[in-house]
Symmetry: C2
Subunit: 347 residues, 2 copies
DNA sequence: TTGTATGCGTTATCAG
DNA sequence: CTGATAACGCATACAA
């Protein structure tokens, strides 16, 4: 970066910022004392403390995070790498992180890796260069080894993996059970021809959901039919294509379980285009419980994934790691939400 | 912040980072020369430049942004305040900002204000404390004066307002024309009883869309009926309630124009719950063109708002402001997307 | 063109 | 308990 075309700042000087030193002078103490009071680093006499607090607010002093980071080694900022900042799922998680970090004076530093491992690696580098105190990686694409290596240098929390270490913690949602519950639900409604639209099988969670689907089938004594399994990439278009594929092949099915809500949404459109009603003709169940899914027509039955909670817990965990404690956070179990898109199979 | 419960870092020391000084030594030049080469601040002999570049990569040197910011006054980071980080609309804008900033070595620093003016003010303070080089505010709730005051201290770009200044630039979407086009579309289809679900009238854009609706009606010689205007807050639930309200009052209507896609989605659900078909019984048009709207059943006719472009242009503009140039960016005009949710009125 | 000295605003390490 | 003093890593006048 900054090879040649970096713009040169040509800005009017802004009013001089108030520094810790100015506060010290006004309060009649040394800078170190002010610093100590600010950080609670040591016990200080009440008299001086009062004077400093007083001076701080009359001057409107705000410590410079850059200087703090340089001198103290801690920046009070947490790097957060997501795959797609513009995804409804991540949005909720990011908000959870924000909400957890804000009250304790930490700031998140968001970056997107776009499902690209090398971009993800670059994110980690940039974040480390920025001297964040810890990193949260949401649904990493990097190898376990790469993540462990990163955790060698600073505290790391990841989601969607099962990793532990001195400075490493992970939060994993039970995708298998979630998919199991979803499929069981459809089976309980009398469906036996249940199509499955898979997620990108490169993701562990996608194959776990696939396993859950098959486990439920097996437990119910329903023969597995590979014709009913459609490949998908977790995007709406996959659901749409899957349905068209199913129908063009004249494959019989009375229900669809999509590995995520986005594909379920695409599937719903596909069914609509083919004149099939949900849930009268085909029952539909998704996975994730996106904020928009409750407003689908009909509202989508799905497995609730606690994205917001995930964010909060991840943030709380990284804070614990930084403090030197082993996190113990655990995600709530999958929860089936039955809404309007699933109904009993017609006899 | 940091009154008493700030966790004390208890971390193992990480391997010592490589500094500019080390590069200088290896290359056999002075630190200042390394700095100059890095920033293109002055002309340097090719021999030394080569040596420095060489040393830089063998050492894997990465400049410390904190030190750079402290010493140079520029942090190469841009503060971005959004109202809701977990909103499909903002998501796209944020990605646009990321994409524009990344190639030139700037990093965005995202914060959410949750539609709360005082939270927004706090965001601005935090960002300034972090010494960002400029700030982008997406759809501010703060007064024009407050924003202008902020622009006194550093470059500011806002969206959804009409503000200009030495260090201030704004990007405004033509909401009026957008709403006009949407309503005209419905009128052209033969509808005359067109309900309007308004956005939060505290937002300028909401009232502009309202005006657009009325202007189209007037131009077509259709009498305005206040009964057909429903208050909303831009959330799905508003659309749902609006439809229930309309129906419970036995108000006649054959089309609905919702001031945003989220409310249109809620309205679609309301119609569905009342056994009304879209577009057979009621035509529906939204505003924004959220990524999900094309996958609604039926796909939603709407006014495309270039969120991603907005982000890119805002980022490009703040960069120009920082460089001392007056930005000239302009948003593309509103574009009507006719999809499956709108159809000719039944005779 | 290049090196030296100084400062950016804090925290941390010493004495006292 | 408190105050000097030295880093932190880099940029920038200033001098050469």
């Amino acid at each position: 970066m900054n090879k040649n075309n970096m713009p040169t700042a040509v800005r009017a000087p802004t009013k001089a910022p108030v520094t810790l030193e100015m506060v010290a002078k006004l309060a009649g103490v040394s800078p170190s004392t002010v610093s100590r009071i600010l950080n609670g680093t040591a016990v200080v006499s009440d008299a001086k403390r009062l004077a400093v607090v007083e001076a701080t607010k009359t001057l409107g002093f705000v410590p410079n995070p850059l200087a703090r980071g340089l001198a103290g080694g801690r920046t009070f900022s947490i790097g957060v790498v997501t795959q797609a900042i513009d995804s409804p799922f991540y949005g909720a998680a990011l908000r959870g992180i924000e909400d957890e970090l804000d009250p304790v004076g930490y700031s998140p530093l968001f970056m997107s890796a776009h499902w690209n491992p090398s971009a993800e690696a670059r994110c980690l580098e940039v974040l480390r260069a920025r001297r964040v105190d810890g990193i949260v990686v949401l649904m990493p694409r990097l190898s376990d080894e790469a993540l462990q290596a990163c955790a060698q240098a600073l505290p790391v929390v990841v989601t969607g993996r099962d990793l532990r270490g001195e400075q490493l913690f992970s939060l994993k949602f039970d995708n298998f059970t979630g998919a199991l519950r979803a499929t069981e639900h459809l089976i309980a409604l009398g469906h036996t021809r249940i199509a499955f639209i898979s997620g990108d099988e490169e993701h562990p969670d996608a194959s776990e959901r696939h396993r859950g689907y098959r486990a439920a089938l097996q437990a119910a004594g329903i023969a597995f039919d590979p014709e009913l399994v459609l490949p998908g990439k977790y995007h709406e278009i996959s659901g749409l294509e899957a349905v068209h594929h199913l129908i063009s092949r004249k494959c019989k099915f009375t229900a669809i379980f999509a590995a995520n809500d986005q594909m379920a949404s695409g599937a719903a459109l596909g069914l609509f285009q083919n004149g099939l009603q949900v849930p009268e003709d085909v029952s539909l169940v998704g996975f994730d419980d996106l904020p928009t899914s409750v407003y689908a027509t009909p509202p989508l039955s799905t497995i609730h994934q606690p994205a917001y909670e995930l964010g909060r817990l991840a943030a709380a965990s990284i804070l614990q790691l930084i403090a030197g404690t082993q996190p113990t956070a655990e995600l709530p179990p999958p929860e089936l939400l039955v809404r309007g898109s699933s109904a009993p199979a017609r006899p």
